[in-house]
Subunit: 334 residues, 4 copies
């Protein structure tokens, strides 16, 4: 019986468990045996293996996080370490490895591919959605829902107290969560790494002042992507408070965005991609990521997923810029 | 100043409010005035008009239901009634009407189009997703999340008590909610109108018995679409209990599936389509539905949305059939 | 080392896992060993034992259901079966048994107490809250939240469509869930087993007609306790539709009310009572239930918990009757 | 017709809307007219009055925040400002004022009472629960649920990545939210203002190291009350990282704790206290807060609510200290 392995790697994302279930169950249908290594690439090197059987997959897809656990493991860039992983995989007679993770994990998978003869298949699992070659990544939809729910909550107290909030969301170096959360939560402004030109402090302050003049009784919510403003949300809030004379409250959403039960979209996506990963193995593919583009499963060479940038959907950016502009100016300019 | 009107019609769906916001704000950007009629087509006929301004749209997109209210209004099929609506619209100098609703509402819109000279634009808003010409409808994603959350809850007590549950979900005459909820909740079986051939009682009973033999300690969940099994979920549960000797508990999810705050996917979809509806009006289109296909906004002649059937995604059906088969048989057949 | 056992019995309730955690961790602090039997009393008789250690309790309190599983086991009323259980407990050298469950389970515990020499301690775990001797039972608060959330969802679609809904909630033969859900969801009417006199059909119909006259645009929600109206919620809806000429939609909430992650109140209650159960064992108590009255832990002879009825809080009944009366009549009578 | 007024004041809290509904509906039953002033005491001074009628209260109790809006208004401490408020109240012929808020608001109410002849009644509404004379305050239960849900989410990613998190919760200068959230989320450690002696850095570091040795694969969660550690959660995380050599991630939950739909407990509490406030007015009381002690409504002189400290429940502190100790040490010391 042929044997395949699976790991979850890098930042965990809601839906990873559903993906593992689909891999294990689909493999089982085709008489493939599956083992997992805990804690990602580190777990391969340290041989933290665990057999995976459909019987144990019945109730995992409902849960957040990853029961296989994950880790960041920069040491894997070293040739010796990758070779050690190859050796462990060979000892277990593994013929294919599925890596569920983001761009760092796919660099690792690509690296391993040079020192190991088995097939390597990537499945995009990251809340940040910053992988080229797929419209969506596992965990992104849930993270957006979580951010939106949190912003909705902040909106309620902001509205009750007529306050300005600067809310920092995750996204590493991409604005996907920020953009989608801003639209969904009907934010008054957004600051994302991809915006050209970046909004200046003076403009942001001006938007606040304009809205305060028009709606003195109301809330005002700015969405800020992490890793973007020097000093982060606290510094921006301080600067905006000073520039406007209105207290701007900082609110970093933090790691709640990585947790939570996956929503339906993420579970279904995860199972589609997991099943497709096994199909790709059966048809002999290697060094490929399984993606979803325009609702179709696609195979993308691994290196293309992290060598290219993935742009935001320009139409969604325009949509939000238009809607938020009206939010601010409707009363004053009419 | 040009004036347009908007109604929500038929069964309400989460996201309708976000759609109205996008219509009002986008119209305002282009100097169009917007009025709403409450309670759908009936509200036009009875002239239940209400002016809509961006200032009132700031906090509506977060909320479920439709603040414009909706209704079913079969009388609208009569020529006189449609003519009366046309007259009211003309009295208000309306040049275009946006109808947010499902197939019944689009039949109404198509009907009105024959007796009224203004532009008629449809936006797909129904939890059932049973409209041809668009991949998704406003409210569908939230309804699937709501159904999934409910099934997850039932799963917990089912698992604690080692019980079989037959869970009935909405969908009118289509299996979209059933299919997506079944995948997301990792159901052991599903009965959808589109399955060919339909699963027979004997097969369903056999699945239950097989799983009980393999996992006597565990839960078993069957998803049933409404309007499908004669006598509904109660009759099916009775029949299955008799056929298997195992008590099968009926659980109709009911109208909770229509409520709830819209999730991010529905809010974003609703705003995209709402903004696109105004764009379509500006470019002179009429008798068209605004849809989303493969992530792109499309315009579809209204009559094509209800004259054709919309099939389930066959790949998702296969995915679930495969995964659920493994859930049931993994232990016994190995 | 002294050894104690724990079971969860009867209908599962959110918070049971947190209670088990508190029992195991508290026992461990006092050098008591703990084993669980799966599936309640049946599991004792069939010796389905499983050792329980704090290491395995770290992440259980967040989850709904009961990982020890439960069951209904009417056979336990037979003397031979109870004696068999006593024998198994003795074989394991168990000196005390904690039973987490409702009144049926406490009858079982009381029965066992007559044929077994060890200590028997009950902890009230049932969503129905129908146990005398304690203000609240584990699972009740979460069930009320779940019912309320569901009613809130139904309210949204009811409001959008100006509909009347009759919503059936759980409670076996007690109106606790019904009363608390009715207040929390601002229902227009409620039908609970404890109301004296029971509202008649004519009165219920009258309330609906009065409200429809005053608020023709609005929703109307009646809460009905299960096992109360002949024919249940479907029959009542049919009768009310006929009596009023207004379609009244039935909506049984069903088993979702037993599932779901426990809320904070239930987790904290569960841990208080679980820890107190171990304290009671250490101080030599037996045939006692651990309850919470006016925020204090109390010990109540087991038989008093099921021999007496537990009344609803009359002040809460009056509160809701007053508030709902105003909901219906404010406009008409002013 | 006698006229009463109501304000929400200070930090908003989930449940305030339900409380307003109960006040308005109960007043209406007794032929009292009700007006609200927006934005708390400031709204009285600026005469931002709005009439309140039961018809508008039908759907408010489901919503978070306060539709009357609130504000902090330190100027109210000045005699002239309080006199101005008295004057406005007299102009409106108000005979009684209900203030829903926390200790700052009750100081304001007490102050007003010296310059105004009407009755002044307080209702405890603050998420912090830091008011003497009542076991619970409106908003506290929801805030604890919100904090717990957030910590549960962080726990999932912490568990997947085997990480240590320091999570900062609200509470102003009291540990109620911290304590209840720590129990409910099964935290490994907590730092609350009331703990005597305060845990030292060395002890905290030691707990982390001990647990990492025993459970190297697992998460570790410390709950920190705000306004307690110099430099806050970021400084504490830095110090602990340094002391242990393990990265400790800071996670301030922030203002999401003030938002959200009120849970059932808060809605029911809010309606009880709101109705009791009107009863107190009718029976001639003044300068009193309506509280709930041991499930009974009580009247407490306003000044006693803010002049005394409210201690944590010592039994709950002991419960959590015991349970968390076992979480950390069970494996190592056995």
């Amino acid at each position: 019986m042929k044997k395949i392995a699976v790991i979850t790697s890098g930042g965990d994302a809601p839906g990873m468990n559903a993906c593992i279930r689909a891999i294990v169950n689909t493999a089982w249908q085709h008489d493939l045996e599956v083992i997992g290594f805990r804690h990602g690439f580190r777990g391969i090197v340290e041989d933290l293996n665990v057999p995976l059987h459909p019987d144990d997959m019945r109730l995992v897809s409902q849960r957040g996080g990853t029961f296989l656990k994950s880790s960041r493991f920069p040491e894997f860039r070293e040739v010796d370490v990758a070779k050690k992983a190859a050796q462990v995989l060979d000892q277990h007679d593994i013929s294919a490895l599925v890596v569920i993770g983001g761009d760092g994990s796919f660099r690792g998978a690509h690296h391993l591919n040079q020192y190991w003869g088995g097939q390597v298949i990537g499945v995009p699992g990251t809340i940040d959605n910053d992988l080229a070659g797929t419209d969506v990544t596992i965990g992104f939809a849930t993270a957006v829902d979580t951010a939106m729910d949190a912003i909705d909550k902040v909106r309620e107290t902001a509205e009750a107290m007529a306050r300005v909030f600067i809310i920092e969301v995750m996204g590493r170096h991409a604005g996907f969560i920020g953009l989608h959360a801003a639209i969904a939560a009907a934010a008054e402004a957004m600051i994302l790494p991809e915006l050209e030109p970046q909004p200046k402090l003076a403009e942001l302050a001006d938007g606040i002042l304009q809205a305060r003049a028009a709606f003195p009784d109301s809330s005002y919510v700015v969405i800020l992507s992490e890793n973007l403003w020097p000093g982060g949300v606290h510094e921006l809030s301080k600067n905006l408070s000073k520039a406007t004379g209105v207290t701007c409250h900082p609110c970093p959403l933090g790691h709640i965005q990585r947790g939570g039960r996956p929503n339906a979209q993420d579970r279904i996506l995860a199972m589609q991609l997991g099943a497709a990963a096994v199909d790709a193995i059966l048809s002999g593919k290697t060094a490929m990521m399984i993606g979803l583009e325009q609702e179709h499963v696609v195979h993308v060479p691994l290196h293309l997923t992290f060598e290219r940038d993935k742009p935001l959907d320009a139409r969604l950016v325009q949509l939000q810029l238009g809607l938020q502009g009206v939010n601010i100016t409707s009363k004053t300019s009419k």
